[in-house]
């Protein structure tokens, strides 16, 4: 079995980061998870990927973050020839029509609202893992 591509989790809330990681761990996720603590850290990955670092299987992107928000990160990634094929899933608390539509307009591949209820949250984590890391065929 080849090495599993990583998942990039872009999330500023440490509790959410911890909960997400724990949720993945409970579901026995095999893919490594990188964490970017805000938009700037996320964008810092770009030169690495462009230099040949393995691109993630999926980027889980929060929207509301200090300094550079999720939508700006999304725009940057989706306008780069070498990176626009990386699947980006918006994982956020916002249910605003405006956010949803803008995200899709900018090329988001999916939009998931983070549930407060922990059971639902676990389910979501599982679905993400199943779908984006197993079911989905990655660009080559």
């Amino acid at each position: 079995m080849t090495s599993h591509p990583p998942i990039l989790l872009v999330e500023d809330n440490p509790l959410d980061v911890d909960l997400t990681l724990r949720a993945f761990k409970r579901r026995n996720l095999v893919n490594p998870v990188h964490v970017a603590r805000d938009g700037e850290e996320a964008l810092a990955w770009i030169p690495l990927w462009e230099a040949g670092e393995t691109q993630p299987a999926v980027i889980l992107l929060d929207l509301n973050m200090p300094r550079i928000d999720g939508l700006s990160v999304l725009r940057s990634l989706k306008t780069r020839d070498g990176l626009r094929r990386i699947p980006i899933v918006i994982l956020t608390t916002s249910k605003e029509d405006r956010d949803i539509n803008t995200a899709y307009d900018l090329g988001a591949n999916s939009y998931i609202v983070k549930p407060v209820d922990f059971d639902n949250f676990l389910q979501v984590a599982q679905q993400i893992e199943l779908y984006w890391c197993i079911t989905n065929e990655l660009p080559r």
Binding site: N13, L15, D16, L19, R22, L63, N64, T92, T93, S94, K95, E96, D97, K114, P115, V116, D117, F118, D119, F121
Partner: protein, 675 residues
Amino acid sequence: MYHSGPFKKWSFVVIVTLLPSKPMTNQRTDPISTPAILPLQQFFETSSHLCLILRAHDHFIIEMANDAFLAATSLRRELIIGKNLFEIFPLSSIEDSDDSINVLRASLNRVLTDQCANTITIRQYIIPSRDSGESALYQYWKLSNTPVFDPSGHLRYIIHQAEHIIDPMIACAQRSESISAFAAIFEQAAVGLALLTAEGHWIRANTRLCEIIGDGYEAIRMRSFQDIFYPNDPTGYAEFLHPLLAGEIQTRSTERYHLRNNGHGIWVRLFMTWIRLADSLVDYFVLVVEDIQTCKEMEENLKEAKRLAKLGYWKWDRDTHTHTWSEEIYRIYGRNPALPPAIYPEVQMYFTEESWLKLAAAVEKSLAEGGAYECDAEVVRPDGSHRWITARGDAIRKRDGQILALHGTVQDITDRKLAEQALLQLNASLEARVAERTAELNTLNQSLESFVYSVSHDLKGPLRGIEGYSRFLEEDYAERLNEEGRLFVANIRAGVTQMSALIDDLLAYSRMERCKLEPTPLDLSILVNEVIAEYTQDISAHEIKIVADLPSTYVQADADGLALVLRNLLGNAIKFSKYASQPRIEFGVRKEASFVITWIRDNGIGFDMKYNDQIFEIFERLHRLEDYPGTGIGLALVKKAMQRMGGQVWADSAPGKGATFYLKLPVYITHRDPQ
């Protein structure tokens, strides 16, 4: 005028022949005894003229009187012969008898001094009646005194003649044998009619004239025309009559204010004509008097109305190029009233250039096509002040359609115009203020929006943390917690659930305030069934009977908004009726002319109508959370959504009697079947 010509040359011969050589006193010599003079005596006695022969230098002793005189005056010959004329004159007392005596005496004295005939113009005298039963007669006599000289040229006698001036109209009418018709016409004329002597004495007047003057005829004829219509105004009277008497014109008319005896005054119009009737030897005045009081009042009223309305009238005669302006136009334009009206191009100076172009175009068009026009224009007075007017005009056409003249009105509307301008300014400033407020509100809305956005994101994050970690605690450390510890964790998670629901509802409410609703035709029956389907699980769990046989009914509403409303109402109905013994929820619909009323009725716990207003307010709850969980936002959300869709919601309930919630929505109207 009458001159006693026949007596001139040979009269003395006749008279001395007639008269006895010695003057008589009481006894008259029978002239018949002298056959030679019989024809002359007969001539004298049967003459239709009323004659006396007076001694010239003996106090005007009456020498002879003829039959006509005696007949007319009812005097007996033996009673007057040998008497001084003034013993029998005046014949009857009248008011101005002194005047009459003086006039007669003056006339006789003139004959003595001038040695020629003298005439007294027509005067009214009162003649005693022949029958004692009858009252005295008023008669118009023209008296003349003619000298008679003896062969040596001495003045010896005076022939005193009285010519009875018969009412000329009656005389005329008698001749044409239609007196009754004539009298009727005269009497029944709608205007006052009268015949006057040259001195202004009444010969005849109709009833209408008496009515206008405001007195009986008996009283009227005691006064002259001048006394009645020109009291204390001899100058005015002279001015009025002069052109007539001078023969310059034949008819004179004027308007006079006539003060009646009862103190009331009226305006009258007088027409006076100087005429000589056929067969008549004397001249008369024909007087026509019109009561123009009503006319005058209307004229005054109209003038006053025009002044109050600030309404002026003008007329421009195209053929004669005459312009007419009412007083008010002078006032409006500020033109000197002494000047003639401004002719058409000159009037331009009273307008601003812009207004003149507009007005001139309207006038030219009316002149060319004959239509009416109306336009507002700005007037600039010579003193520089500005006024606003409404100018209206129209063409006057001849019978053949040709335009004869233009006429119209000018109304000062400055006050209204200023008010309008003030209103416009006020509106403009109001609009500016509204725009300003709207901008402020938009800013506020935007900050509210971002606030709500933060709430959704920032509140939910920590909440998820509490939820997640309490879950980990429960699952991973359950064996280390005792029962109380586990209860605490469960309570923490219940709190999180409630708070999460609260945030969700709050967000939904805020979204309902901000979102754009798009009303489209919706079939209510389909939407109701879709919402019912969402609650299938709850409905079957509590064995609730649902009645929703709605006919297809189209309303105009936003699909998401209406679904949210129905979802909340059905959720409430289930929540409050699920513990009833036989829970039942019924949907109904009623169509009115322009709207649809639909309702959802449950047989649940209901509520007291005193809380009716309260339940639609945000965060208002009627029940404890542990009995009936909820956020207190649902009905506020329903109300907000109905408002936004142009509808209404209201409720009807009683404790323990269930509740009915009504929705009123605009009906969807279409000409074809909306399938």
